[in-house]
């Protein structure tokens, strides 16, 4: 799914239960013009800046990294992490690219429960 389509559907899902998720009100809360957000949703303009996408993700309770990836962007903190050790992270990402999600999560982030 494309970025604009995804956020439009996410917003409209919330709008079904809560009128605060109208285009106009969401645009106000993330500090953009309603016409601009409408164009973003209809993909008539390029996705907004990282800061706006992060605000939008928070507003719609969606994952900011996911939205940034859909917009073809990478968050500033991730870019900084890669810039510090570019070869290591490039190698790591290439080696992990075919592993299933659950295997990556177990490898990288699973919290071990020990003896207590």
């Amino acid at each position: 799914m494309t970025f604009g389509n995804f956020i439009r559907k996410a917003r409209e899902r919330r709008l079904a239960d809560d009128s605060r998720f109208s285009l106009r009100q969401v645009a106000q809360r993330i500090d953009v013009e309603p016409a601009y957000l409408s164009k973003v949703e209809r993909e008539e303009v390029a996705p907004p800046s990282e800061a706006t996408i992060v605000r939008l993700a928070r507003e719609l309770d969606e994952d900011a990294d996911l939205l940034l990836a859909m917009a073809g962007k990478i968050s500033g903190d991730l870019a900084e992490i890669i810039r510090k050790r570019p070869r290591l992270f490039a190698q790591l990402i290439r080696e992990l690219k075919t592993m299933p999600d659950h295997a990556i999560l177990r490898l990288v982030r699973e919290v071990r429960d020990g003896d207590w």
Binding site: D17, D18, R20, R106, G114
Partner: protein, 335 residues
């Protein structure tokens, strides 16, 4: 399975249901005055950083290593609250203890869930937990104190300073019950549509102690014990490092200090009250009998909370599902 994602503990149970995911964060906050007044909810001031204990090998205290889990940093006498965020709406039963003393029923840690008294929280409706359930509708705030000085709930109840930290277990709702709940919810929707004195020289391990009084309900579980899939729980030990040991272990700086409750209130920044229609459980007598940090300090002729002046929480924002209108968030943005 529990994973650590951007300072959130993510509990997921793909073996039960794809929707069975729950995010937990540990929120920095004001320490409310420990003055026997009952305060509204203080704000969230951002997440505490979380790190895997296993990532730091020999740099963590030896007794932390076998426990696994994660760790977070706190200044002495700093407060926190635990946020139960749900991405999917899947219901969970959550049990929380500090120093292996259950924060809801005041008893020592046991495996599994119990009713009469209820020893867990149903999420939803429980959105967060700020402290120990001492009375119906009142908690005493979680406040970090060094383990071994006699302030923590663990030491007051067991007489020992053995565990410290926070212990959490989550049980998802049984798949069949969830699907039944979803069917009923869809049908319902269709019909509708139509702080702070900080000390830097303390021992490494910290525990949580009861601080000031706050209005907060621990909601009665309306689903019943049978709704929860106790065969599929996941649990986590959250160790608490003091500021010096956090820097020594991780090399990272701590988040900035929160303001005192009095300064926050003077600036007319918002406090919160949560409105839900669900009935609440009674306080636990073991927790009601705990002395607060200031109470213990008086007995020991110490001043454990040097900046403990009362605050006038005059700006109170209502939150929650039973409150009509727009839904503000329990957060404050500080410059």
């Amino acid at each position: 399975m529990i994973t650590l994602e951007n300072d959130r503990l993510v509990f997921s149970f793909p073996e039960v249901h794809d929707d069975a995911r729950l995010d937990i964060t540990f929120q920095r906050t004001l320490r409310i005055p420990d003055d026997d007044r009952t305060y509204p909810l203080p704000p969230g001031l951002g997440c505490f950083p979380l790190r895997h204990v296993d990532d730091f090998g020999a740099r963590v205290p030896e007794d932390w290593r076998p426990r696994g889990g994660v760790m977070l940093p706190m200044f002495q006498s700093e407060a926190l609250w635990i946020s139960f965020g749900r991405r999917s709406g899947y219901p969970f039963a959550m049990k929380v203890a500090t120093g292996k003393i259950n924060a809801v029923d005041g008893k020592r840690w046991v495996n599994g869930l119990a009713r009469e008294p209820q020893n867990y929280m149903a999420v939803p409706p429980q959105p967060w937990l700020d402290g120990y359930c001492i009375e119906k509708g009142v908690i005493r705030q979680f406040v970090a104190m060094p383990l071994g000085d006699g302030y923590t709930a663990e030491e007051q109840i067991t007489g020992e300073a053995e565990h410290g930290g926070i212990q959490i277990v989550a049980y998802p709702m049984k798949r069949a019950r969830y699907e039944d709940l979803q069917r009923r919810e869809r049908s319902r929707l269709r019909s509708v549509k139509l702080s702070v004195g900080f000390e830097e020289c303390a021992p490494a391990a910290m525990g949580l102690a009861p601080g000031g009084r706050m209005r907060q309900h621990i909601y009665d579980d309306e689903h019943g014990l049978d709704a929860w899939d106790q065969a599929n729980g996941s649990r986590c030990f959250v160790a608490i490092a003091n500021s010096l040991s956090w820097r020594a272990i991780t090399g990272e700086a701590l988040p900035s200090l929160p303001p005192t409750a009095r300064d926050y209130a003077k600036a007319k920044l918002p406090w919160f009250d949560y409105y839900a229609e669900s009935p609440a459980v009674d306080g636990a007598s073991a927790l009601q009998n705990l002395l607060s940090v200031v109470g213990i300090g008086k007995k020991k002729r110490e001043t454990p909370l040097p900046e403990n002046e009362s605050a006038d929480a005059s700006v109170v924002v209502p939150l929650g599902p039973a409150k009509p209108g727009p839904r503000p968030v329990r957060e404050a943005m500080l410059e």
